[in-house]
Structure formats: structure tokens, C-alpha cells
Symmetry: C2
Subunit: 455 residues, 2 copies
Amino acid sequence: MVESYEQEQPIDQLQQLNDALDSGMFVHVRMMLNEMPPSDVAHLLESSPPRARNLLWKLVNVEREGDILNYLNDEIRNHFVDQMAPEHLAQALEGLEVDDLADILGELPESVYLEVMASMSEQDRHRVEAALIFPEDTAGGLMNLDTITVRPKVTVDVVSRYLRMKGLPDTTDSIYVVDTHDRLLGAVSLASLITSRQEVLVEELLNDNVETILATMPANEVAQIFERRDLLSAPVVDEEGRLLGRITIDDVVDVIREEAEHSLMSMAGLDEADDTFAPVWSSARRRAIWLGINLLTVLVAAQVIGIFESTIQVVTALAILQPIVPSMGGVAGTQTLTLVIRGISLGHVVAGNSRWLIMKELGVSVINGILWAVAVGTLTYFWFQDLPQAPMLAISIGGAMVVNLIVGVFAGATLPMILRKFNMDPALSGGVILTTITDVVGFFTLLGFATLFFV
Amino acid sequence: MVESYEQEQPIDQLQQLNDALDSGMFVHVRMMLNEMPPSDVAHLLESSPPRARNLLWKLVNVEREGDILNYLNDEIRNHFVDQMAPEHLAQALEGLEVDDLADILGELPESVYLEVMASMSEQDRHRVEAALIFPEDTAGGLMNLDTITVRPKVTVDVVSRYLRMKGLPDTTDSIYVVDTHDRLLGAVSLASLITSRQEVLVEELLNDNVETILATMPANEVAQIFERRDLLSAPVVDEEGRLLGRITIDDVVDVIREEAEHSLMSMAGLDEADDTFAPVWSSARRRAIWLGINLLTVLVAAQVIGIFESTIQVVTALAILQPIVPSMGGVAGTQTLTLVIRGISLGHVVAGNSRWLIMKELGVSVINGILWAVAVGTLTYFWFQDLPQAPMLAISIGGAMVVNLIVGVFAGATLPMILRKFNMDPALSGGVILTTITDVVGFFTLLGFATLFFV
């Protein structure tokens, strides 16, 4: 009987495993671990603090280590791989698909890589070398070499007997038809093989309009094509149209997930490969760098305030109003920035429409700038109406609001486009550059206008 | 011959189409549009400013509108659907898969929905009603009804003839085996059908360990199962184990994409369904709300500064130092918050390990708090060394730094967990609540410490 999957399962298991670990029932834990699918073990390891994680890893059977490593996030995987002896690693990785194998081996230091390769079978070695020709973030790096190829002039019956003998790799939904020079002629889906009579020739079933991917295409473009075309798999070819391998949707799903996470994490100065349960010291070290960069930028903002110290001395109300304008500019700019970063990563924002988009965002910022300038100006006037400077304070903060919202939004729209032009990561602009601009401009305009009026 | 896919294609087409639109060559544009796959047309529409978008939409052939609507993002789709007469819409939607149909119809106002349903064939009406029983964000809402079912005691030969007659729906990789009560017994993959002899019974090929999904399971859990198990499709059953439909990976990819985008967009007060190229006024209105909320929170922070106005009057250097502590607290808190939000959405952060995670993040914040307190304290001392208050300023800012980093990180770690406990969206905490806390605490501690020393 089929049992329905319960989501609670891994969480319950986590609790059970932790209890068992705490009471030292290692035999029991080992049994539980080795009954779980490798992807669930990987998920458990990713959800465990370092001590429990290392204990659990020691209890995994050697022959399952490769599969589990394959499902682990990069940071945790590298942590375990670093501790393994090269022969041990070579043994663990046996039987992995070549694209996954190449991902893991590609990250090793030269000397370890050579040792592991030396411990592998000659066939695997050749396959890994072939896969490592292409960078990890290209179609060639994503592809698998386990394509099934046939010639156009054979019958369905022959193909069926061939497949019965050879077996089909996981997640195969199509076989490929090639000419004598290995050039791809098209694909035949399993569905069409099943629904055809045995005597039909393969070439009659051939779909020659199949989405074909160049090995050098960047991974994120591959993901966009899979998403847009609802593909399950696609053949990968070289410049001459020769079939090199195939990409399957499960590898693309990982790309989509990582890419989407990347923007979120980068904007906070984190990396999508970061381990949530990393030890305190290694987290602290990484975060310190980002805090240090932020400190430098906020010191610039403080310097700007310093220029106007004498104005503040005359009107201390300015110190109270000080945070408002930078905050509003930062929020407006971040909204635009987030929208543009998403638009770029989805392929919506391109050279042809970016001018329109910038103009539209500027339009939005002018409307909101005026709206909130009036609101904040009025509020300021009544807040400080006992002061003789109240009208001038209201005008200063209102003027600063309009300027800073426009500047913030302009920076939010153009920064990611500029970074992309220089082949840099658009999401990088989110964390620090934008708020530096809105802070500096916010303080400068508020205090600058006030100085014009009061000094 | 197979041509390799060029990524430039849609972008070039966008340019070409825009040029053709500008020169009024509508016949040419119509021809180009109707030769492109529907997903590319949807992508073009999503990448076009409103005026061009509306023009392009008018040039699409009616019979392709349904397919294109299906690929469009929610906001743009609703915009077009709102303009269509109910009979027109019913005609356009003919032939869509039932899960997609239900998504579109489920968003319509009651009266339009009834009119569209009345214009549809009886069969489609029943299918839509069946699909709409389940909310859009559950397995039932994702599933399709086009399963192929067979009985266990038939031969592969019979199944093949049956499939030849009936045809196979798109992205079918398995057929399902059910008993006389429609209860799912298991799945048979197309691969195993092809690689078996004709006389073999289906029950011999049966995989009864297939991942089965309850119709009420939330969509994000479905996505996690697909990701973790590398599934292409999965059967959906009711509480009694009866087969209701199947979910395919292409629908899950959309869930993964939307879910990952959701955190990014929510943290900036945006929605993942927001249209990048929305008209100025509608964008301005939506952004204004978020800016208004932000203004309220920053006014709270300003009030806090107001409490200490007399202290600032004595030591204006405080106005200069004022932005540093809130900024550092905000950055540290946002890093923790982002990490925890990602951890929750990946299913890594659960009840059993959240205590450990909070303690670890607090550890990180203590280390960084002390480090940057010393750094900023020293800096402040030398910056203002001409003032008699320099040592006390340094101590005030250092103390405030430690407190605010700890508070910010604690808030960043616990806020999303608390929101989730109340079934609210964890990402909501990112935009406003966290920075309000770090601003208020930052200003209060800096100015509060200073007041203790100087007044």
C-alpha cells in the first residue's frame, strides 16, 4: 500500500534523532540514519548545530556518503570533504552522476583533487575531466553525460529492445537522435515511443524543434529557458551541433532556488551558500567584515553632519528631525532597487526598456516626494510651532525630502543597471552603496537648507 | 535541423517589436507575435511599458490569449482579464489545463466568474468546480486532473494499446495503478513500460513506494518534497487514499520561484506579484503606503531623540555620532533576520533547533558588539579629543553599540519565529519592525548613557 507523505516526518525524526544522540544510543541513530533517503539525511545535517552534525555524519555508512554530500549545501559539504582522506572520498563519490561529481571535485584544492582522481576508476576519471572543462555555472557544468542516442533509421521495436538491454537513466523523458558525426537531429519522447507501433521508424517520431542548449550558456539563462518552456530536460550541444549531454529539471531547480536566494542574501551582505548553523566564531568573523564596511559608510554620513555642527548648535530641533529624511530616502530607494534587481534576474529589465523604467520610477519618486514633503513639513511646523524657526524648519525638511526621495530612487534604479554593465552582481548595490547615498544626501540637504536659512 | 537556442532572441524581438510598433507596422507585429511561443509573448508583455503592452495584447490572436494569460504574472493577467467580456474570456480559456484555469477563474469577482462559467462547456465547468474546492496554495490547487490510470492485472501490451488510443498528456512520466475504489496502489514509470516485455503484468512493474501527496498539503511543502526527492511528478490523493490528480514539476517550479521572490520583495514592502512596469500612478499609490508606515516608525525614533534635546544642546557632538549606533544595529539585525527567514522557508529552522540558533546569533552579536564598541569608542575619543567630554562620549557610544547589536540580533532572530507562530508571514518583520527597534534602542542608549554622564 502507498502511504501518504507526512511533512512532519523529518522534523519528528530530527527530534527523535537528537534525543537518541543525547542518550548515546548511537546504534539506534545509525540505523535510523541509514534508512532515510540521502536527501533527508542532508536536510537533517543542514538543520543541526555543529556538534550534533559532526556526530551524525560519523554514523552515516560510507557507501551513502557520496549521495548525501551531493545534496548538502556548499559550505557544509566542503567542511566534511576537507576532513576526508582522498581514498575515502574517492570511494564515497563512486556512482555519483558526473555533473554532481564534477561540482564536488571542482572545489577541492589541487593536491587533494589529484589524489582523489588517482583513486578513481579510469572511466570515471575521464568523465570528470570532460565535465570539468565547463565552468560550474554554465550549461556544460550542469549537464549530465548519460544521454541515450539512436540513429534515425531504426524502428521503435529495435529501440525498445535496445533500451530493455541497456536500461534508462533516472529522469529520462526523451532519447536523442544523432547522425554519424554525433550531430543532434532531434529528440524522441518516451511518450511517443510508447504510443507508436513497433514497426515505425524513429525518424517519423522525431521532434526536430527541440529546445537545444549551447554548452557555454550561463546557468541562469538555462533556468529561464526551462521555466519559460516548461521543459523536463534539454540536450546540450557544442558549437558544431554535436550532442554533449543533457540537462534535467532537477538540476535547474537548484539553480532557480540558489539564484532567487542570492538576491535576498546579497542585499544583507550574506552568501546563499552560508550555513544557518555555522559555529559562532566563523559567523562572527564573516559578519564583522560587513559591519566594518557599514561603519565606514556611516562615518561618512557622520562627517556630513559634522560640517553643520554650528547650525545644530543654534537649532537643536534639527538633531531630532535628522533621522527622518535619510530613512524615507532609504526606503524609497530600496523599493526601487529591489524591483529592478528582481526585474534583471527575471530578464524583464533589458537595455530597451530601462530608460522607460528609470523615468517611471522618477515619476513615482516626484509624486511621493511632494506628498511626504507636505506631510512632514506640516507636521514639523506644528511640532515646533513654539520656535521662531518653525516655518523655516518645515521648508527645510520638505525640500530635503523631495530631493532625497528623487536621488534615492534614481540611485536604486540605476545602480544595479550600472553594476550589471560592468559584469558585477547587481544585488551588491543593495547592502551598502544605496543607503550611503541616501544618508549623505539626506543629512546634507536637511542641514544644508537649514544653514541657508539660519546662519 | 535543430537550431540552438539563442538567449538574445527575446530581447532582439522586443527591440524589433518596439520598432515595428513605433512605425505603426501592426500587421507585421501581429505576425511576429503569433509565431512566438505563448511563454515568450507573456515575457514580452511583462517586459513592456503599459502603452506598448496594451497595444501588443490587442494584436494577439484570440485563440492564443488563454495560453498567454496562463504564463503572465498575476497583476498583469488581472489587468487584461478585467477588460475582457465574459464570453470572450470563456472562449480564450478553452483548452487550458484545469489547474491553470482554476487559478485564473478563482481570482475573478463573483459575478464575472458566474458569467464565464455559464459560457463554458459542461465538462469544463465540472472540472473547474472540482479544482476550485482546494485553495490555490495547496497541493489540490496545484494539481492537474489528467492522470492516466490502469488496473494492476493488465499486461504492458494492453496498456500500450490503451495509451496509443488515448494519447498521453504533456509531461507525463508515470501512469497510476488504482483499485476498483480508485485508491492508489502505486505508479508505473514510462521508462519501465518501455523496458518491459509486452506480456508482463502491470502489477509486476508497480512502484508502491511512490511519494504521494495529500490534497490539503500547503504548496511550499509540496515544493520542498519535489526538491528533496528530485521528483518530476507526484500523485495527489484524498484522506482515503483515492487518486485525485497529479502535480508536475513545472507547476512546482513556479511555486519555488514565487516563494523565493516573496522574501526579497516583502522585506522591501513589495509583493512578488508586483508588475515592474506598472503605470506611475498605481506604483506611486502603493509605495506611498509603505513610506507612510515608515514615516510613523521614524517619528517614534525622532521622539526618542526629542527626550534628550537638552543633552544634545550641551554636547552637539552627539548629533554627529547619532546615526552610527542605529545603523550598525540595523545591519547586524538584518543579517540575522535574513538568515532566519531563509532558514524557515527552507525548513531548516524548526522548533527543536531555534533555541540553539538564537543563542548562537546572540554569541555572534556579543563578539561583534564588543569588537565594534572598542573600534568606534576609540575613534570617537580621537575625533573629539579637543572636547573635555571625549572619554565619556567614547564610553557612551561603545556601551550603546554593545546593547544595540545584541538587541538588534535578538529581534532579528526571534521576530520571524514569533510571526510564524501566529501564522503570519515571517518576511514582514524585515521591512519596518526591526529597524524601528534598532533605531529606537540605538538613539535611546547613546543619548541615555550620555545624559547620565553629562546632565
